[in-house]
């Protein structure tokens, strides 16, 4: 292994978490890299070869990948650690599913309302499973959700099955509870308010008023419920959201890519996303990711701001999905200063390059001059184009395909250009496909005024698609409903 040779020169990895898994990961990673394992709470047994900071609290994280400065309060004393990367284990979520399961053992059929707010796909999946199981035992289940999440493997099929079996999904719903025994007024006890300070709460024998705008009802739906559970994912695991916020890694979107956050160098081991990994898989995956971060052969930043051309319009600063752009370099432009891409934090997605209205961001990439009518995101479209034998111009993300790139690719006599992007919600840079689609929509609108109208077609693909199917969609006018 290359990293063993210069072990001493590597900045350490901070492992943050008090679970058993975090302990095992710290020990395993510690065999190859210097590790600091920190957590709130007491130390039980000293693992060999790693630095342990028990009774710690994260205070502040500054810097970027390879050179983070982490301020911590350890045993009431402020300390500062310089680390190369961080692996964070959030507190485990409250175990709602097992509480629900025990209620299902009742002898008579019950009416149950299970309200899930801001839950991660792992919790969502588990609770839909539970609802389905209870339903098959003869109980009537109402699942009140803020969104029907299907983006985990098998999610679509699971929700479909639950619906067909009779589990009722309710979206955009406000719950009010009235205790059947004390008979309080509806509206005085809104379930979401009650759980504002707690992750999970259970009620017995309630009348539930469901004000559901998506059902287009003027009056609330009233349910006599034997059991009501409200579960707020944002509160589950008391320090989860706070820790993410402190790390600058908080996100509303669903991270499809395991362990990565939008702040480079900070990895989050969160079994809530996608299919859970086994301990071996988790450790193996973390090793690979840490290797790529710590091994020093980072990709050079492919995008650079030319300070003299920067108009300080803040477009790059506002649109960067990884918060990698900041104000900070001197320039010979009108303002004497320009924006700067923090190379340690840049994922080279090229969003800034595509959106810069002053064309002040250059792409340091070998330019392929081969004429083509297909442009593609290299993550989703790249492998498929190769397999299908189609020449296309590849970009690091669909979000990096700018309006002028699209127009430059145009060949005389061609009336159709195809761009391959990831499917919605699958972009590893947040919403590259969505950004591209808005650009294409505007261009297509402008194209309608041309004497000989031309058209750009966006085709959503994923690496699992069949190459011959993609070939057909690219080469013919059948976009497959995308």
């Amino acid at each position: 292994m290359t990293y063993q040779r210069d072990f001493a020169s590597k900045p350490p990895v901070l492992i943050w978490g008090k679970t058993e898994l975090s302990h095992h990961v710290a020990v395993e990673i510690g065999r190859h890299l210097p590790v600091i394992w920190a957590f709130p709470g007491k130390l039980v047994g000293q693992p060999e070869g790693i630095t342990v900071l028990a009774d710690s609290r994260l205070v502040k994280v500054t810097g970027s990948c390879g050179d983070f400065t982490v301020q911590m309060e350890t045993g009431g004393r402020l300390t500062s650690q310089v680390v190369g990367a961080m692996v964070v284990f959030p507190e485990p979520a409250s175990d709602l599913a097992s509480r629900v399961r025990s209620a299902g053992k009742a002898e008579k059929p019950l009416t149950m309302v299970l309200a899930l707010k801001k839950v991660r796909p792992g919790d969502f999946r588990e609770n839909v499973h539970q609802a389905l199981a209870l339903n098959s035992q003869g109980h009537q289940i109402y699942l009140v959700v803020d969104e029907v999440q299907v983006s985990f493997p098998g999610g679509e099929e699971l929700c479909q099955e639950a619906r067909q079996a009779g589990v009722i999904f309710l979206k955009d719903t406000v719950l009010s509870l009235v205790d059947n025994e004390s008979g309080s007024e509806p509206g005085q006890c809104t379930a979401w308010n009650v759980i504002a300070d707690a992750g999970c709460r259970e009620w017995l024998n309630q009348t539930v008023y469901l004000d559901n705008s998506s059902l287009d009802r003027t009056n609330p739906l009233v349910i006599e419920a034997d059991r009501v559970w409200c579960y707020n994912g944002a509160q589950a695991g008391s320090d989860y959201q706070e820790t993410l916020k402190l790390l600058g890694a908080e996100t509303d979107r669903q991270e499809y890519y395991p362990f990565r956050t939008r702040r480079k160098g900070i990895l989050l081991v969160d079994p809530g996303w996608g299919e859970p990994f086994s301990e071996e898989e988790t450790i193996a995956c973390l090793k690979v990711l840490l290797d790529s971060i710590m091994d020093g052969d980072r990709l050079p930043c492919n995008y650079e701001i030319q300070p003299d051309l920067c108009a300080l319009c803040l477009t790059c600063y506002r649109t960067c999905p990884h918060q990698a752009v900041r104000l900070g370099q001197k320039a010979n432009n009108l303002y004497g200063q320009a924006m700067l891409i923090d190379q340690g934090a840049c994922f080279s997605c090229g969003r800034c390059y595509a959106e810069c209205p002053a064309e002040a961001i250059s792409m340091v990439l070998p330019q392929d001059k081969t004429p083509t009518m297909v442009l593609a995101c290299e993550n989703s479209g790249g492998p498929l184009l190769k397999e299908a034998g189609i020449t296309g111009k590849l970009f690091p993300c669909a979000g990096s395909i700018g309006v002028t790139d699209i127009l430059k690719a145009w060949q005389p006599g061609v009336d159709r250009l195809v761009i391959l992007t990831c499917r919605d919600g699958k972009c590893q840079h947040g919403s590259g496909g969505k950004r591209l689609s808005s650009r294409v929509m505007r261009l297509n609108r402008l194209f309608r005024s041309l004497t000989r109208p031309v058209h750009i077609e966006v085709i959503q693909v994923s690496a699992q698609d069949r190459a011959d199917d993609v070939w057909r969609r690219v080469m013919t006018h059948d976009s497959g409903g995308a």
Partner: protein
């Protein structure tokens, strides 16, 4: 900043009808920031026009500010080869180009809309009408000239409903905003002071406006 918006492509095409060599000149100032007329938009427009008429030569460039003679000098070396110039600057840039390059016609590619700011990325809103007699200190920093549909100076009209203006549910009533802001500042008593008629001679009604800083002006010998 000055906020502009690209004209319909068909309008721009009709302005340059019959010309074979077209230069699109962008501006690095306000219209770059409002995403309508910087180098990227100038290049986009040039490529669209070229795509429309393959026999037409269309090139693009941008200057730091189209409203300054010194920056227009940068266009001198290239303009000779073209028949017409399309400017993606605001109306000031278009006029500066026409005044500076007397032998060429410069036509506007943008409609100059207003003086405003991005309230969020991509959404611009008017904030100032350049009335020449600022009264923001009296109204909690919210301009009744730019933001009240009727330019009222002494409180709202009867069309203020639930904080919105009667002309659209999308538009906040400026006087509701002023009331809320003055309340925040603990200055509600300001609303009891009657505002006399405003000095509109400083606004557009007094003819072409000029502002002179004699202390910084250079005379012809300098």
């Amino acid at each position: 900043m000055i906020v502009g918006e690209l004209k319909a492509l068909s309008d721009i095409k009709s302005m340059i009808k019959g010309c074979r060599k077209v230069l699109v000149v962008g501006c690095g100032g306000c219209v770059t920031v409002c995403q309508s007329g910087g180098l990227q938009e100038a290049e986009t427009l040039a490529r669209l026009l070229a795509l429309d008429s393959p026999d037409m030569t269309v090139e693009s460039l941008a200057v730091p500010r189209q409203c300054e003679w010194e920056f227009l000098e940068q266009v001198c070396p290239v303009i000779g080869g073209y028949e017409i110039v399309v400017s993606t600057a605001c109306g000031i840039g278009v006029q500066a180009m026409n005044e500076y390059f007397r032998d060429f016609q410069t036509v506007p590619a943008l409609n100059t809309r207003f003086l405003g700011m991005p309230v969020r990325h991509g959404l611009f809103e008017e904030r100032c009408q350049a009335c020449g007699d600022c009264m923001l200190h009296l109204t909690g920093g919210i301009c009744p000239v730019a933001r009240c549909s009727k330019n009222l100076m002494n409180g709202p009209c009867g069309g203020s409903q639930n904080g919105k203006c009667e002309i659209s549910r999308e538009i906040d009533c400026a006087w509701q905003l002023i009331y809320d802001r003055l309340k925040e500042l603990n200055q509600l008593e300001r609303l009891l002071v009657l505002q006399p008629p405003k000095d509109w001679s400083q606004s557009r009604d007094g003819g072409l406006r000029r502002m002179a800083r004699e202390d910084v002006m250079l005379d012809d010998r300098e």
